[in-house]
């Protein structure tokens, strides 16, 4: 973002925040706030993939929900092609839906058990009145073809399909409206190991063929490394590091990123690493630690960390980190 030829990213998030009120007592007064997402910025260029990683409670799911208009942000902007999408309604919202879509994690609960594949994949077409009744089956068949499912599948119901097939249906549904940006929320973690690579390859192929932009959310760091051009890591509602994929995995700067990467069990017994084992648990999101949120578990923590919250600063081209000691 600090290159000389600055081009605005195709999709951008600025200062995005989401706060949930905590209500206590008979009168249900608001006593505190959960700052699930506390001011994050990132951008994705067209046709590229941003991997978003972080552990439970970091806010990545909430971020995805806000981008999809499933939850309303408490603050900040979500920009698609330069235009803010947070406050759109009505027909503008419908138009937005055609541009941003999602692939869900669980192939078992993300398909309506009472609808067949044709109805599931056809719903986007019907909602947006894209084509007439007569062309609908052809459009659905074409969409299924994108995910290598034959038209026969249209009459089948989810319970008749395998996990991999269901996930393909979910992917087909997300492609129906020809979106530009797709949020992939753990697309293979609920699938059997031996079929994951089929779906991964499908996602990569679709990105190439259709010029899709992906926001790829996953906890499997090897997978994120494989799929992403750029990676951002969240902790307690903030982005603590963001970098091109190669830099992120080879030269992580933030102590949390280091710990995260070292925690991943290495499946090559020849490559043993010094394991950084974080002590303690995640602090409460209602009352995050003052200053740097990570300081309660950070091996580098010092007095400065409690007083002043580090800002996300560029350390090397494209590589941003929020840490007092690892910035430069």
């Amino acid at each position: 973002m600090s290159n000389n030829n600055y081009t605005a990213p195709f999709f951008e998030v600025r200062g995005l925040a989401k706060r949930f009120p905590v209500r206590k007592g008979v009168l249900r007064r608001v006593t505190a706030e959960v700052r699930a997402v506390d001011g994050i910025d990132f951008g994705i260029h067209s046709g590229r993939t941003l991997g978003l990683v972080g552990e439970s409670g970091c806010g990545k799911t909430t971020t995805a929900r806000m981008i999809l208009h499933l939850d309303r942000p408490s603050g900040g902007q979500i920009l698609l092609e330069g235009e803010d999408t947070v406050s759109v309604e009505g027909s503008a919202l419908a138009a937005l839906r055609r541009k941003i879509q999602m692939i869900f994690q669980d192939p078992y609960s993300s398909l309506d058990p009472h609808k067949n594949v044709g109805q599931i994949v056809g719903e986007p077409f019907m909602v947006h009145r894209i084509c007439g009744r007569r062309e609908l089956p052809d459009r659905i068949a074409a969409t299924l073809g994108l995910v290598n499912l034959s038209a026969d599948f249209m009459r089948r119901f989810p319970h008749e399909l395998s996990g991999g097939q269901r996930q393909r249906v979910g992917i087909a549904r997300s492609l129906a409206l020809s979106p530009m940006l797709i949020i992939c929320d753990e697309p293979v973690s609920a699938l059997d190991l031996s079929i994951r690579s089929q779906i991964i390859n499908l996602l990569l192929e679709l990105q190439e063929r259709l010029g899709l932009t992906y926001l790829f959310i996953a906890h499997d760091l090897s997978l994120v490394e494989h799929m992403s051009d750029e990676v951002a890591v969240m902790y307690l509602g903030k982005i603590v590091e963001r970098a091109p994929a190669g830099d992120f995995f080879d030269r992580p700067l933030h102590p949390y990123t280091e710990a995260l990467l070292s925690a991943v069990p290495e499946s090559d017994p020849l490559r043993k690493r010094d394991r950084i084992i974080l002590q303690g648990d995640l602090p409460s999101p209602i009352n995050p630690p003052s200053g740097c949120r990570f300081r309660t578990r950070c091996p580098l923590a010092a007095a400065l960390c409690a007083e002043k919250e580090p800002v996300l600063l560029e350390s090397s081209p494209g590589h941003f980190v929020a840490c007092h000691f690892r910035g430069r």
């Binding site: 999602m102 609960s109 309506d112 909602v127 008749e160 996990g163 609920a190 699938l191 059997d192």
Partner: protein
């Protein structure tokens, strides 16, 4: 999470088919269904089954015991009890049927919106709670006293009485289904509230609803009889089972058949419907959702 169990596609693939097969294997359901069928049949075929007019008075023949001519005997006005009971079935089924039907429609609509929109829920839940505080019959009596005696008023009163129960069941289903991933998925592709409610939630909420409606039908028959017995239901001389029993009250020693037969009919109708409801409850819902997965998960 298992690809290991890919069930073979059923003949036309609908989710209902395996359930339908199981339904037919449930003895409870079949017995109940047969009982109800017989009652409906006899109500429909009443003119064929008895030559007597249920309201025709024949004081010469009053209080006759059971005989070939009068299988259920006659009451104090000489009316043939068998005919009254058969035509009474029509009343029970009609009143019970209509009130159940309206209850279902109203209950589903209110329940869906209450479950979906919190402001609606706040109002509806308070009303539902208030209505359910009263014992059904007491409230029914109050309503009939206010509305006046007429069959249509009985239907109205019973609809008001039972709708809260349906509202609760449907609202519960909505709350449970609202958070499922496929609801989010449909919202993300652009489905609006109405489509989400009627196209996604309602089809998945049928199971507890159908069971509750079936029990509601049984309740309606019982309540109509009860209100008629107390003189505040279907107005005489219509042969509602409750009326027949009420008429027979003074003759419980001398002509017990007057109370016995309508009582038995009420019992049979209610038991039959309860069997159907029980049978349906055992068969619907949890099994439906889990058939494909259970074996696979256990095997892993």
């Amino acid at each position: 999470m298992s690809d290991a169990q890919i069930p073979r596609p059923s003949r036309n693939g609908r989710v209902l088919n395996p359930a339908l097969r199981r339904v037919l294997r449930s003895r409870l359901f079949i017995v109940g269904a047969v009982m109800l069928f017989l009652i409906v049949l006899s109500a429909a075929a009443a003119p064929l089954l008895t030559p007597f007019d249920p309201v025709a008075i024949d004081t010469k023949n009053s209080l006759q015991p059971m005989s070939l001519r009068h299988p259920f005997g006659t009451d104090e006005l000489g009316r043939d009890v068998f005919a009254r009971v058969l035509y009474g079935a029509r009343i029970s089924l009609r009143v019970g049927g209509f009130s159940t039907f309206f209850t279902a429609i109203l209950g589903v609509l209110i329940g869906l919106f209450a479950g979906w929109y919190r402001p609606v829920d706040m109002i509806v839940s308070r009303i539902v709670d208030a209505l359910m505080i009263f014992p059904g019959l007491i409230l029914g009596i109050m309503l009939m006293a206010a509305l006046g005696p007429a069959e249509s008023n009985v239907i109205l009163a019973m609809t008001i009485l039972y709708t809260p129960r349906i509202v609760r069941v449907v609202r519960g289903s909505v709350l449970e289904l609202k958070g499922l991933a496929y609801m989010d998925a449909s919202r993300v592709v652009g489905a609006g509230d109405l489509r989400l409610l009627f196209d996604h939630i309602l089809p998945n909420a049928y199971a507890p609803l159908i069971v509750q409606v079936t029990f509601g039908f049984a309740w309606a028959i019982l309540t109509e009889s009860g209100m008629s017995f107390l003189g505040l239901g279907t107005p005489p001389p219509a042969p509602s089972w409750g009326n027949i029993i009420a008429d027979g009250r003074d003759f419980i020693r001398s002509a017990p058949w007057l109370m016995f037969f309508p009582g038995v009919m009420i019992s049979l109708a209610v038991i039959g419907l309860n069997f159907i409801g029980d049978g349906l409850r055992d068969l619907l819902d949890p099994r439906l959702r889990n058939t494909a997965r259970r074996v696979g998960n256990q095997a892993g």
